[in-house]
Amino acid sequence: GAGVSQSPSNKVTEKGKDVELRCDPISGHTALYWYRQSLGQGLEFLIYFQGNSAPDKSGLPSDRFSAERTGGSVSTLTIQRTQQEDSAVYLCASSSPGQGYDTQYFGPGTRLTVL
């Protein structure tokens, strides 16, 4: 019944530390997406999971970024050795094959601040 949820809602970290962001998609949604929303760059695609297929990682900005999706449900986005330019709102979305994947349902986002 609930929509996409993300945790934490806010994260403040120091430069150089690792962070993990979590996304719980809508139950039954086989596609899961991560985007980043920042002032300078707008909304950028990061990574996309579809069922058991290999993820589309083409949007990850550097090898410090990685993501996994366990059991076809929950996903974790990990940023290693955070930099100030990583500060942004990280959005997760999911979609369903039943609707032709047309509608991506977005979570509330995690606001990451790197000091």
């Binding site: 929509g3 909304l43 949007g59 994947y101 047309d102 991506q104 977005f106």
Partner: protein, 109 residues
Amino acid sequence: AQRVTQPEKLLSVFKGAPVELKCNYSYSGSPELFWYVQYSRQRLQLLLRHISRESIKGFTADLNKGETSFHLKKPFAQEEDSAMYYCALRRNQGGKLIFGQGTELSVKP
């Protein structure tokens, strides 16, 4: 490369005035185009998609392949339309969305 351009960062109109939010895209294939909206303190949500040719909250958008545009229009703007609007392109079903930079619409009373 695919790209979506929204030339206006901010569009300010008075209530009852017509509004057009511009969106141009570059893509060599047959794209799928969407408009997403983010109201203040709310989540990003789908407004409409070109394939269904629908009108949502009085908004319409027509895909013009010749001009590679997908402008969002409403004949009479309302204050509750104030929000951030994003045009997005998708290459194939289920794929990632490529967003424009967004246009902030402000409808003044």
